[in-house]
């Protein structure tokens, strides 16, 4: 019977402990609710927890971002919780919930799929945390506070300008024959890049300086399914044989480096001189190509600057100040217009490649 008493005692203790737990938390609802209502604008302790939830560890950029966030948050005195969601959206959802539970004051999210995190960012918001969408906008929720990213429209503009400058350098007088390429239609950014570029090119097309020989000027004609190099190459092959039997191709608008190289490959295979081709992403192969004088330009969107801007935002929030916002009109996520801090991307040609990549351990070797 003695053991029975022990068990009874043990379960009684357990019961007490557990119910005690419940009662202790009785106060929390009012507390957190109060904090949530006014929390966004209030300062928080200097050593608060900052959560950073990143997508799958698939590219160098994300690994670099992880290290920068870890080091720089620690340097600034915050407690950092930086995690990757290699297991997919479900894992990222649970990660964000865990950060909320741990009482993170700011949660920075590089979403795997920006449309699938509504419930979690709402929970974060309700718990009084500030949510910053990093690089990818979080959609269909009013619980996202800020958006930090490179200005994609500006990327397009820079590409358009680079195309014009590059062609002018080769042949001072127009008209120029050009072709247009866009990214994948299922990527929201592809349209923005194209619109940005067309904001520069369209007036020139209208006044006759530029001639799109194939007449394919609409976004849905210029798209490259899945951002795939092979699709761009096939389309370029077709365009060359259809429209450039006698005409010279002066320039091609390409939305990124992979497609730019595919386009150059196609032109070379057709035995034509390489036209002015734009790009984006600063891929190693393209930077080499630029140094060799083939591809004309690329865009540098330095992860270091993006992380830096995010950390400045966190620092401002910590002091209870309003963080820098450069655009409070453009980024409608379906429910609200998210105030955004947009960084200026940098156009890189052979002329400025050396200084542009001076801080980059891999690319500085290529340019140096």
């Amino acid at each position: 019977m003695r053991s029975l008493t022990k068990v009874m005692a043990a379960s009684a203790v357990a019961a007490l402990a557990l119910t005690g737990c419940g009662r202790a938390d009785e106060e929390t609802p009012t507390d957190t609710a109060g904090g949530g209502a006014s929390g966004a604008a209030e300062a928080f302790p200097k050593d608060a927890l900052i959560g950073v939830s990143l997508p799958q560890k698939t590219s160098e950029n994300w690994v670099l971002a992880e290290n920068l966030f870890k080091d720089d948050l620690a340097k600034a005195g915050f407690k950092a919780d930086v995690q990757f969601a290699n297991g997919g959206v479900g894992e990222q959802q649970n990660q964000i919930q865990s950060m909320v539970t741990k009482g993170a004051k700011v949660i920075v999210i590089g979403a795997i799929d920006g449309a699938q995190l509504g419930t979690q960012v709402k929970a974060a918001k309700d718990a009084g945390a500030t949510v910053i969408a990093y690089d990818r906008l979080i959609k269909n929720t009013d619980a996202v506070d800020y958006y930090v990213a490179y200005d994609n429209f500006k990327v397009g503009e820079l590409q358009g300008n680079a195309l014009l400058e590059g062609m002018a350098a080769k042949k001072p007088q127009g008209p120029y024959n050009i072709e247009l390429f866009a990214g994948s239609p299922d990527d929201a950014n592809a349209q923005v890049f194209f619109d940005g570029a067309m904001s520069v090119l369209k007036p020139k097309i209208d006044d006759g300086t530029l001639k799109v020989t194939s007449n394919q000027t609409a976004f849905n004609q210029a798209v490259t399914q899945g951002w795939k190099a092979e699709n761009a190459q096939k389309r370029m092959d077709t365009l060359l044989s259809a429209s450039y039997a006698s005409a010279t191709l002066d320039g091609v608008l390409s939305p990124n480096d992979t497609l730019a190289r595919a386009i150059i490959t196609s032109v070379k295979a057709a035995g034509k001189p390489v036209p002015v081709v734009t790009g984006q992403d600063s891929e190693v192969e393209s930077v080499k190509s630029i140094m060799a004088g083939e591809q004309y330009s690329t865009i540098n969107k330095d992860t270091r600057n993006l992380v830096k801007a995010t950390l400045e935002m966190v620092a401002a929030l910590q002091k209870g100040e309003k963080p820098t916002v450069t655009d409070d009109k453009s980024y409608d996520n379906g429910v609200k217009v998210v105030p955004a801090n947009l960084l200026e991307p940098l156009i890189v040609t052979k002329a400025n490649a050396k200084e542009a990549y001076a801080n980059d351990p891999t690319l500085s070797k290529v340019t140096g």
Partner: protein
């Protein structure tokens, strides 16, 4: 000490899984400074894993019957995207959407069940094909885009019980459900005992039953109170409520109905079962069909929780569900396993995952640890069986006062 053994059903060592769960909870509770049993976190664990656990319920039946289903993630994603698009483009209300999803699950399941049961292709192959077919179908239907769902539908994955009645500092409905569940358990156990006594069966000392019930009741009430004391507006998640209802339903079906016993019989020894008059083809067909229906439900719960259906929903879910089932004591050879065991196995994984996330352990280490735990859990069970003890599975069933399953498995084993 004998009493303790009886309470836990014979041999304390065999009670490993529940101990493992309790151990993990206590361990993480200490390591995370009390965050693990924070009301919000308990709610998160259930809300963030209910869909996996729902699939584990279907998967354990598939595995008991001696099959496997690799297609659940793809089927879930397919049902999710069709429902999301149907609701967006045809404007059908949420409950019609859910019905549509279940019908899709049933059709997909009938397709797979047909090949498995009537053509005789191994389920591994059929569902490997299904994994490809329905992933492709998901991306084809949704054009690889993410399709949002409206708020009414989000309740089944992200909703909570409403606040009703007087302000008690707790969510009243959650407490009420906890109390009702306890009352039902106690009532059931008492009645069961009375029935057994009436037919002259050995019922054991009453104190054992009461202490066992006491422990379960304390556990249920503790969870209920934790969930009820979370941030205002949160309480028992609807997804956990769905899970609970399914556990009760399938626990009952698998242990107390003819079809449930037939699943064990077919999985244990198909020929013996057929000779005893079990229509094994029908059992296989139903088991596969049921799995796809539950996978569709899980898919919809995930879509609701995510507020949208995406092209990569469900990737890797089959492995989570299968891991839960095997940690829960099922045997690869079939014939052994319980619904409750699978859910507890899933919870072990869920608590482990959650605890590691709270500790800020990276995704890479988390996967390594989860892999080791899976291996250790199954090794423990295999070792126990090789020592001539009953599997953990039998114990769990016993613990719930239902000897039926264990008896069936024992009989089947003897037959084979």
């Amino acid at each position: 000490m004998n009493k303790l053994k009886e309470i836990f059903g014979g041999d304390t060592r065999q009670f490993g899984m529940i101990f493992a769960l309790v151990f993990l909870i206590v361990l993480f509770q200490v390591l995370t400074d009390g965050l693990t049993l924070d009301p919000g976190n308990v709610i998160n664990i259930f809300q963030g894993n209910s869909y996996i656990l729902v699939m584990a319920i279907g998967m354990v039946l598939v595995i008991i019957a001696g099959h496997i289903d690799l297609s659940v993630g793809s089927v879930a994603a397919f049902a999710g995207i069709v429902v999301a698009i149907a609701m967006r483009d045809w404007g059908i209300p949420w409950f019609v959407g859910i019905l549509l999803g279940l019908v899709i699950g049933a059709l997909v399941g009938a397709w797979q069940g047909f090949w498995v049961a009537f053509i005789g292709i191994p389920a591994f192959i059929v569902t490997l094909a299904g994994m490809l077919i329905f992933r492709g179908a998901n991306q084809w239907v949704g054009k690889s885009n993410t399709v949002p769902v409206d708020e009414s539908f989000q309740t089944i994955g992200a909703g909570y019980l409403p606040e009703v009645g007087p302000k008690t500092g707790y969510n009243n409905l959650t407490i009420l459900i906890g109390l009702l569940l306890c009352a039902a358990l106690i009532g059931g156990a008492v009645r069961n005992r009375r029935n057994q006594a009436r037919i002259g069966a050995d019922v054991g000392p009453a104190s054992v039953m009461w202490i066992r019930l006491g422990l379960i009741t304390v556990a249920i009430l503790a969870v209920a109170m934790l969930m009820a004391s979370g941030r205002r507006g949160t309480s028992l998640p609807i997804s956990a409520l769905i899970l609970g209802a399914l556990v009760l339903l399938y626990g009952f079906i698998s242990t107390r109905t003819i079809i449930g016993r037939h699943v064990y019989a077919v999985g244990g020894n198909r020929h013996a079962a057929e000779l005893s008059g079990v229509r094994s083809k029908r059992v296989n067909f139903l088991v596969m069909m049921n799995m796809s229906i539950l996978a569709s439900l899980a898919g919809m719960m995930f879509v609701a929780r995510s507020n949208a259906s995406g092209p990569f929903d469900g990737v890797g879910w089959e492995l989570d569900a299968i891991a839960a089932v095997f940690i829960g004591g099922a045997a690869v050879t079939g014939g052994v396993g319980t619904v409750v065991g699978a859910v507890i196995g899933g919870l072990v994984m869920a608590v482990l995952n959650n605890g590691l996330q709270l500790l800020g352990v990276g995704a890479d280490m988390t996967q390594i640890i989860k892999g080791l735990v899976l291996l250790a859990a199954v090794a423990f069970d295999v070792y126990n069986k090789s020592q001539g003890r009953r599997s953990i599975t039998g114990l769990l069933t016993q613990n719930f006062g239902r000897r039926a399953t264990q008896d069936t498995t024992e009989t089947v084993k003897q037959e084979s």
